[in-house]
């Protein structure tokens, strides 16, 4: 793969040169005759009149052959016209005379038209039949030559396969699979297990073979390689199936599939009956799904004893796997790898100067590149330039790579014999591909890489490896719900893997920048992924697959109970699980959406609340890798160009703005207009990786169809197109389809020769190759692109508020609050706190990192002092909280993907516990944020409004999910709710917000002080009619809704003052115009009762008594009988009279 295009044995002569020398005179003698002088006419013969008459694949290649052929004859003083065209007939089976024509096993049978050309050549001379015959004989020689080349190619392929280290084990492997249920096959990289085992099994008669891979790219690559070896590259016996693509027909016998996808198939087909053999590759990587699959295998073997399982691993930690399958008596076969000898040098001393130099300022985070440069210079001195071999340096992370790359470039400035290439996952695809290209003669590549090239990427031609011994590993802290990217020592297994990279194509050398002692102190193996990630999605998937208790699942190394319990709790908070860990209807829907659960929840809510398209964009954008390349924030020009897409609301909104802008560029781009910027260039200028936008588009479509499958959104209505539009679209589709086919037949990107003075750029030369991603994009989008642009982002204010609320519904409780002193401090000293983790910084790539003032309450947003209320915290209606996607700890903890939200409103809508005092002037949300509302009744109104909105919100969700689309929820209800939500989010109420520490909480609650709360039990609950108030035994007070506890927070002097003021102030009900002295809660209750009267036109009739002071009243005017209080009666009389007068 990726080989040189083989040099043909005959192409050494330059035929153009040759042709010039050939005299092109009128009197061309037979000795001097050359077909090249009559190329036009013979070319016609070569091509025939249509493709079925064409004699060769590549006419240019043929003419090269012919040139060489004529030159050869010329050298032996022969005329091309003297060659024999046909061997004489003979009776003996072995002709005794020598004739080259006897060596060819076929004859040409061109059509008659071709044999008798009617046209004349340039000079008006006709071509005689003899010359045509000679020409065809040369074609025959050419075809024979090509045939032999093809045969050689096949033989070489077979020889390569036979020489693989695994080849001698074929019989043993087949025998084991036939006779045992489970086989563990251990073999090192390069032994051929991934490509050969499935072929062995297929050849032995197994025809439903699935082979899992951890990475999508490996599925595609292996399917291609295996189909090549099985000579069915252009058929479908070998297929693959990955997240976005499926190459599989009913004839597919071997399927490469990602682990995640196989797991998904389990929920439809719990015993995977569609496969007879399941091969699980790379189990030593110990990634989440691989580990999960191992447990599943154990279960499968019990349910389907006839199934065959093959586990393939590197030769590390085999005992772990064999012990796990002890009961099943797994057969073990070990295949030695094929590595050339590697010399190992421990060089800890190289690190010492660093210590001396930076003894004091050891806080400096920059890695000292000196040892790496010293080794490069040593290689230069010790190994002659002519000896090929590249260098691979393993470093822990991006910054380290940057500093070594910088220093190496500096070093190379004089030497000019290195090509320095960084390699990490945030590079663009193009830049990543460069590491596979060749260095020019006399130069070496120096690839400076993360552990991406330890297993995921295999680069041939490496002779030197420098191992820093360090890596960055992402771990997950379930307590803080925080991801941590930490530099740490690698494991012994990794160190060996890194070393092995030097010996793949020849003997190599590995330098370890640590001591042998340090090596022996390393951990044996790298920590399995299951111990490093949140488990919500996995657990939800397990429960939906019918594995209700994750605590009992046979994990090869069970995750910590803490992580399991925390994840289950999070699922409950998302309302995906009930208290007793059963799947809810939200949970059921979520388990079908293959994104992280909180994004799934967002999608659910988004589709219910008619914000489908922007939510899809958002979910997709947050689920793929960030589109920002590492240049995006270093290059001022990039930043400037992106500025108009930035949203003051925060990063998620910026992301969908960028996507929308990209769509616009795509839409307006016209491939015929060369000056117009295409989307690739647009992205590059802004430091964006275009691939991510394609991924977003694809994922978006996938998610949409999944939601449709879950019946969360309606079936697509037919596109409303006119006949003309349809035919244009059909033509366009046909054209794009042909481009796509053409691309498929195009050779894959070939390895190129690297330029010595490579400095960046210049990849943008449009080399005429088809941008297949663009074609596919247009093929799948078509006229939909317009809708896409329109719907990609929220445009109006209400839509934006809805979108933010939808995102919030998935993210809560991932919220943070600014530190109270932030307003005094500079950009780099801004801190934020979450409930469990104080002092977090804003990620430097976030919008709020630079625009940190957006989160401050400015002077003119501050409200005046109210009454006797005193607080050191600012009183304002503009407090914001930050919701975030994740916390990532690198050098320090950072909030990632942040968005701002109005604080009080958001908390009241989403908090699980809302604890209030008697006047609702002090509200504590989720036991960590305390809101004080010093203006009388403002807190109360806000709580009342929020609880009303929450009720309606939940009602609509459950209607939509439970009624399975049967009954349509009225759009008016949505409209009204959206309008009310928008008003609520925008309403201005002044308050202070304060973060509480666990110690503060002790003094703030009434608690269980045996104080009589019975007076608080509202017999008429103004918050939720059908919710019966119950006492909260822990905090005191009473629950008035599921989330709100009333009267559990202790009063303060100002709140008592307020209560009195409320009661003393005469209150004129705007509904009934009566004047009362009421407490705040009485007022709420009154509003509730009075509510119908507020709207004077449509007065509701009180047909049944709802309170003891109502009495039956018969109106003399409207003749109706009603139960009313005295006040209501008076009011009614008044209105009735008016109506009567009007109607008269």
């Amino acid at each position: 793969m990726g080989k040189h295009k083989r040099r043909r044995s005959y192409d050494s002569d330059d035929y153009r040169h040759q042709r010039k020398r050939t005299p092109k005179c009128e009197t061309e003698s037979d000795e001097e005759f050359s077909f090249l002088n009559h190329k036009r006419i013979f070319h016609k013969i070569l091509l025939g009149y249509n493709i079925s008459e064409q004699l060769v694949d590549d006419p240019a290649d043929f003419w090269l052959f012919l040139t060489k052929y004529e030159a050869l004859l010329k050298r032996s003083m022969q005329s091309v016209l003297s060659i024999k065209t046909e061997a004489p007939q003979t009776d003996s089976i072995i002709p005794s005379n020598y004739d080259k024509n006897y060596l060819m096993n076929f004859k040409l049978k061109p059509s008659k038209n071709q044999m008798t050309p009617t046209s004349f050549d340039n000079e008006g001379k006709s071509i005689d039949d003899k010359k045509v015959e000679i020409f065809l004989t040369i074609v025959r020689h050419y075809l024979d030559f090509k045939q032999k080349e093809r045969f050689k190619k096949l033989k070489k392929l077979r020889k390569f396969q036979a020489n693989l280290p695994i080849a001698p084990y074929e019989k043993e492997i087949v025998h084991a699979v036939k006779n045992e249920s489970i086989l563990i096959l251990a073999g090192d990289t390069g032994c051929g297990k991934s490509t050969q085992v499935c072929q062995y099994l297929y050849n032995a008669g197994f025809d439903k073979v699935a082979c899992t891979q951890p990475r999508r790219i490996a599925c595609i690559g292996l399917a291609k390689r295996v189909s090549h070896e099985m000579l069915c590259e252009y058929e479908s016996e070998v297929g693959y199936q990955i997240r976005f693509e499926k190459q599989k027909t009913k004839h597919t016998k071997i399927l490469f599939i990602t682990e995640g996808l196989l797991l998904r198939q389990l929920s439809d087909d719990e015993n995977l009956t569609q496969y007879s053999v399941i091969i699980i590759d790379e189990i030593h990587e110990r990634n989440l799904y691989g580990d999960f699959l191992l447990g599943i295998c154990k279960c499968l073997l019990r349910a389907r004893p006839e199934i065959k399982i093959v586990l393939m691993s590197a030769t590390i930690n085999i005992n772990l796997f064999s012990n796990f399958f002890d009961e099943e008596q797994a057969k073990i076969i070990e295949v030695p790898g094929r590595l050339f000898p590697i010399k190992l040098h421990y060089m800890p001393h190289l690190k010492n100067p660093e210590l001396k130099l930076e003894a004091k300022s050891s806080r400096s985070e920059r890695l000292n590149p000196e040892p790496y440069i010293q080794l490069m210079s040593m290689i230069d001195k010790k190994y002659p330039k002519e000896e090929k071999g590249d260098l691979l340096i393993f470093l822990s992370g991006l910054n380290e790579i940057q500093s070594v790359v910088d220093a190496a470039k500096e070093y190379n400035r004089e030497k000019q014999n290195w090509i320095i290439l960084p390699l990490h996952s945030s590079l663009s695809m193009q830049d990543q591909d460069k590491v596979f290209d060749y260095a020019p003669e006399g130069m070496r590549k120096c690839i400076v890489s993360t552990n991406i090239s330890e297993t995921s990427l295999t680069i041939d031609g490496i002779r030197f490896v420098i191992d820093s011994g360090k890596m960055k590993e992402m771990t997950y802290d379930p307590n803080y719900k925080m991801q941590r990217l930490k530099e740490m020592w690698i494991s012994k297994a990794s160190a060996e893997q890194r070393k092995g990279r030097a010996g793949r194509t020849g003997p190599g050398i590995c330098y370890r920048l640590y001591s042998e002692k340090e090596f022996y102190e390393l951990e044996n193996y790298t920590k399995a992924e299951i111990h490093r990630v949140p488990l919500e999605s996995l657990l939800l998937q397990m429960i939906s697959m019918g594995l209700p208790n994750a605590r009992l699942f046979p994990f090869i190394e069970p995750p910590s109970i803490e992580n399991i319990e925390n994840s289950i709790l999070a699922l409950k908070q998302l309302e995906a699980l009930t208290i007793d860990e059963k799947l809810t209807s939200i949970g059921k829907a979520l388990s079908k959406i293959p994104v992280e659960v909180f994004l799934g929840k967002m999608l659910l809510i988004g589709s219910i609340f008619r914000q489908l398209q922007p939510t899809l964009t958002l979910a997709a954008a947050l689920n793929v890798q960030s589109p920002f390349t590492n240049r995006a924030f270093r290059d001022l020009e990039c930043e400037k160009l992106r500025a108009d897409c930035e949203s003051t609301h925060g990063d998620p909104i910026t992301l969908i703005n960028l996507y929308r802008e990209w769509l616009l560029v795509k839409k307006s781009f016209d491939s015929r207009d060369r000056d117009r910027e295409n989307s690739r260039q647009w992205c590059r200028k802004r430091g964006l990786e275009e691939q991510r936008f394609y991924e977003i588009t694809k994922l978006k479509n996938q998610l949409e169809s999944l939601l449709r499958e879950c019946q969360l959104i309606e079936e697509k209505t037919d596109e409303k197109l006119t006949a003309a539009e349809r035919s244009i679209r059909a033509g366009e589709k046909k054209y794009l389809g042909s481009l796509k086919r053409a691309h498929k037949m195009e050779a894959p990107r070939e390895r190129r020769l690297l330029k010595a003075d490579d400095d960046e750029m210049d990849d943008e030369v449009n080399d005429g190759r088809i941008d297949i991603r663009d074609v596919e994009f247009r093929l799948s989008m078509g006229s939909k692109i317009n809708d896409l642009v329109l719907n990609a982002t929220a445009t109006s204010g209400t839509d934006l508020i809805m979108l933010k609320l939808i995102l919030m519904s998935g993210l809560y409780p991932k919220i943070a609050i600014s530190d109270e002193f932030n307003y005094l401090k500079s950009m780099n000293e801004q801190f934020f706190h979450t409930k469990s983790k104080p002092y977090i910084s804003m990620h430097p790539m976030s919008y709020f990192a630079k625009n940190f003032q957006e989160l401050h309450v400015s002077g003119n947003e501050m409200a005046d002092k109210v009454g006797i209320y005193k607080s050191k915290y600012p009183l304002s209606s503009k407090h914001q909280i930050i919701c975030y996607l994740s916390i990532l700890e690198t050098t320090k903890p950072y909030l990632m993907n942040s968005m701002r939200m109005p604080a009080a409103q958001t908390l009241l809508l989403f908090a699980q516990e809302i604890d209030c005092n008697l006047t609702f002037s002090r509200i504590i949300c989720d036991s960590w944020l305390c809101l004080d509302f010093p203006m009388p009744e403002t807190g109360q109104t806000l709580v009342a409004r929020s609880s009303n909105l929450r009720n309606r919100w939940n009602k609509l969700i459950s209607m939509k999910l439970d009624n399975e689309m049967g009954c349509q929820v009225k759009t008016e209800e949505f409209d009204a709710l959206e309008r009310d939500l928008a008003n609520f989010m925008n309403c201005e109420v002044v308050y202070t917000i304060k973060r509480l520490l666990p110690a503060d909480l002790k003094n703030l609650y009434k608690g269980n002080r045996h104080e009589d709360c019975s007076n608080l039990l509202l017999n008429q609950n103004p918050f939720c009619e059908d919710f019966a108030c119950i006492a909260n035994d822990v905090k005191g007070g009473v629950y008035v809704t599921e989330h709100i506890t009333y009267g559990c927070v202790d009063e303060t002097d100002w709140s008592l003052n307020m209560a009195e003021e409320i009661y003393m102030t005469e209150f004129e009900c705007p509904g009934c115009n009566m004047i009362f002295n009421m407490t705040n809660i009485q007022k709420l209750q009154h509003f509730h009762v009075c509510k119908p009267a507020k709207n004077e036109e449509e007065q509701k009739e009180f047909l049944q008594p709802t309170s003891s002071n109502q009495k039956l009243y018969k109106c003399s005017i409207c003749k109706k009988e009603m139960y009313m209080t005295n006040i209501d009666i008076l009011k009614h009389k008044k209105i009735c009279k008016v109506i009567k007068e009007e109607s008269i």
Binding site: D57, R150, Q241, R243, H251, D268
Partner: protein
């Protein structure tokens, strides 16, 4: 996590046609074993060419099939794996046999080497030695 059930297979009709039964080929000498598409002298998938004897032919596995409106020639779309030795009538691959008006396996050719024109005798001897050494 992965999606996939919903993504529709875009297999063309061609891919969905039942592939014709393939014919096994086994070289007596080197044990090269392949499945071929055709045995005979006029493979239906090749045009403008006729073989001078019956041989084991497969469609060129290394290039895409020619298309009506494509650029690839139907003439080159083949790969001959081997044929029967005219003398012993066993199957041999192209490497283990020589074609000179007919196919002869190297062993048979060697046994009759003097019957061949001198121009190819040395080649027969050389290949025979190579086979012997392989054993």
């Amino acid at each position: 996590m992965e999606i996939g059930e919903s993504s529709k297979s875009k297999a063309t009709d061609e891919q969905n046609l039942q592939p014709a039964e393939k014919i096994p080929f086994l070289c007596r000498e080197c044990k090269m074993s392949e499945l071929v598409h055709y045995y005979g002298s006029k493979p239906p998938f090749v045009r403008n060419i006729e073989f001078l004897e019956d041989c084991y032919v497969m469609k060129d596995p290394f290039s895409a099939p020619p298309l009506k409106n494509g650029k690839r020639s139907y003439t080159e779309y083949f790969l001959v794996i081997g044929s029967k030795c005219k003398i012993c009538e066993e199957d041999f691959c192209k490497d283990c046999s020589i074609f000179y008006s007919n196919t002869f396996c190297i062993r048979c050719a060697h046994s009759q080497v003097s019957q061949f024109p001198v121009e190819i005798q040395s080649k027969i001897r050389k290949e025979f030695l190579a086979i012997k050494n392989d054993r």
